[in-house]
């Protein structure tokens, strides 16, 4: 009964991974003959400043994304867990960005952030009329913000649901002890959301590591190399420079980093819990 799932996953996900591993040891331009390369692609990639920068940018992007998305989603999620009418309305509106494709979001923000014809020129606020996507110092932060715009709604939902599962007796008891809202937040809400935080952060981390679509359409990796993260570097190396061997090395690095992060985060909490459950069943 598990066969169809295994076959589909095996053929279109596992087999290609071995293909990537094989390709990382050959020279191939997608057109001519395939020749054996040994570890050439690996040493080349390791010494290439562009790829090293891409790896560093990927780490930076991931950290910034988590630092931006996690507190905002947590705050909004906890707030929206309240039952007032207008909060329900807010929750409805907050959901909207989830409906947009990355391509749609990127196209919108490109137009909106255009220094000459975008919102900055409309509001006549010098603060907003920055060269957002053209300044190498700013572009990465703009990308982090736009990614946040897309995904904070999703994580807000997770936190909202998590908060609603906290028994309200805990709050009542603490109020009897004279705890204020700030204390309650730190002593009850946060500890009780432990697993929610882990789930949400894992998804954020793995998601940011592999971010491609939005950056591809929004900046194409520029200005210069300011937003050329690893997945984009891989794509450009493979499908623009036609260096399939080098691109495969980068792809493998992506897989390894992704696996390491999700294994690491799972080890800390979630999976061990799930696995022990499965062992018990």
């Amino acid at each position: 009964m598990a066969a169809p799932a295994l076959i589909l996953f095996g053929v279109f996900a596992i087999v290609p991974l071995f293909g990537v591993a094989a390709l990382s040891f050959v020279h191939w331009d997608g057109l001519g003959a395939i020749t054996w390369a040994g570890f050439d692609n690996w040493t080349d990639a390791a010494s290439d400043p562009v790829s090293r920068n891409a790896l560093w940018l990927t780490v930076k992007l991931t950290v910034l994304c988590v630092l931006f998305q996690a507190p905002v989603s947590l705050l909004l999620g906890v707030f929206l867990a309240g039952r007032q009418r207008y909060r329900a309305l807010l929750a409805t509106l907050f959901f909207l960005p989830l409906l947009f494709s990355s391509a749609a979001v990127a196209i919108t923000f490109t137009a909106l952030l255009d220094p000459n014809f975008g919102a900055g020129s409309a509001l006549d606020l010098p603060l907003l009329a920055q060269n957002w996507l053209g300044d190498p110092q700013l572009a990465l932060y703009v990308v982090v913000f736009v990614i946040g715009w897309c995904f904070i709604p999703f994580h807000t939902l997770i936190y909202q649901a998590g908060t609603r599962q906290i028994p309200r007796e805990l709050y009542e008891a603490s109020r009897m002890d004279g705890a204020g809202p700030v204390q309650q937040f730190f002593h009850i809400t946060l500890p009780m959301l432990k697993y929610t935080i882990v789930t949400s952060t894992t998804l954020m981390t793995v998601g940011s590591l592999t971010y491609f679509d939005l950056i591809f359409v929004l900046t194409g990796g520029g200005p210069g190399n300011a937003t050329r993260v690893l997945p984009l570097d891989m794509y450009l190396t493979g499908f623009r420079s036609y260096d399939m061997g080098r691109a495969s090395v980068l792809a493998l690095v992506l897989v390894i980093v992704g696996l390491a992060v999700s294994l690491g985060l799972n080890r800390i909490t979630g999976a061990s819990r799930m696995e022990s459950q499965s062992e018990g069943s």
């Binding site: 996953f9 749609a104 196209i107 919102a119 649901a161 709050y171 359409v217 891989m234 499965s278």
Partner: protein
């Protein structure tokens, strides 16, 4: 279940922040909407955030004349087929994981756990050549098959954690009645797992509907173009016609918006039930 504290002491920080975030969310959406109504020749002349002086639907007309409905239909086919197959094969696999007594189920679960971390980007080059060799290049199947493969791990995990909560006694009593595994799956597991199936189905539908990389690499012609890619190519094709590009954006989210309005509760509770544990 309500958090009483909120009714006694208003959460000022949270409220201020929520309203601020609302502005952040709404501004781009407002911008998309008004710009799509702006006449092409006024785009560079008018204030980008003002209501158009001469609102018009001609941008929508230009988009619809450019095969938009076909891209739309392609997206529907790819999304529906991917989600249906993903759910079918994953619920079968999840059943095996939950019921198996040997190491097989546990290993299957571990593979799925690792599978979540495999980025689509990493596998794209071999997937491309695999699809070419299978003779599927530039067909809708070329999008459906890999989309299913990469949706399986997460779907399997969520369904598995849901199925574990079905009481053992239910399985036992059906087995006593002589039911086959298939019968148990269809009569017991699927009906009970309906909320989880809806959840993960919605989530994967969003993923596939908005997917960009597979269509970018695995298809080429207008016959097989799906919505997100069409937005990108509209951008090249319409050039300075920003209102048309944004009208296409509006049209591309309409079905998701309709689904959201019609089935908001299901969608939201589904999404949160899946990940909120």
């Amino acid at each position: 279940m309500a958090l009483q504290r909120n009714e006694h002491r208003p959460n000022v920080v949270g409220a201020a922040f929520a309203w601020l975030w609302l502005a952040v969310i709404i501004l781009p959406i407002y911008y998309i909407f008004i710009t799509s109504l702006r006449p092409r020749e006024d785009y560079y002349a008018e204030n980008p955030l003002s209501w158009p002086a001469n609102p018009t639907l001609t941008a929508y007309q230009r988009v619809l004349e450019n095969d938009f409905l076909r891209f739309f239909a392609n997206s529907v086919v790819v999304t529906a087929a991917s989600v249906a197959v993903t759910l079918a094969v994953s619920v079968m696999a999840a059943y095996v994981v939950v019921r198996s007594r040997d190491g097989f189920g546990r290993n299957l679960f571990r593979v799925a756990l690792l599978g979540i971390a495999i980025p689509i980007q990493a596998a794209i080059i071999p997937v491309y050549y695999l699809i070419v060799q299978l003779g599927l290049y530039d067909t809708l199947a070329a999008l459906i098959l890999p989309s299913i493969a990469f949706s399986i791990p997460l779907t399997l995990l969520i369904l598995t954690s849901f199925l574990r909560e079905i009481p053992e006694s239910l399985f036992e009593s059906m087995r006593m009645d002589g039911a086959t595994e298939w019968r148990i799956l269809l009569r017991l597991v699927v009906p009970l797992a309906r909320p989880a199936l809806a959840t993960v189905g919605v989530y994967q539908a969003l993923q596939v509907w908005n997917g960009f990389l597979f269509p970018l690499v695995l298809t080429q012609s207008a016959e097989t173009r799906v919505l997100p890619l069409s937005l990108w190519s509209f951008q090249g094709q319409f050039g300075v016609d920003v209102p048309a590009v944004l009208a296409a954006v509006v049209l591309s989210i309409l079905p998701m918006l309709a689904a959201y309005i019609l089935a908001r509760r299901q969608l939201v509770s589904g999404l949160t039930a899946g990940f909120g544990k």
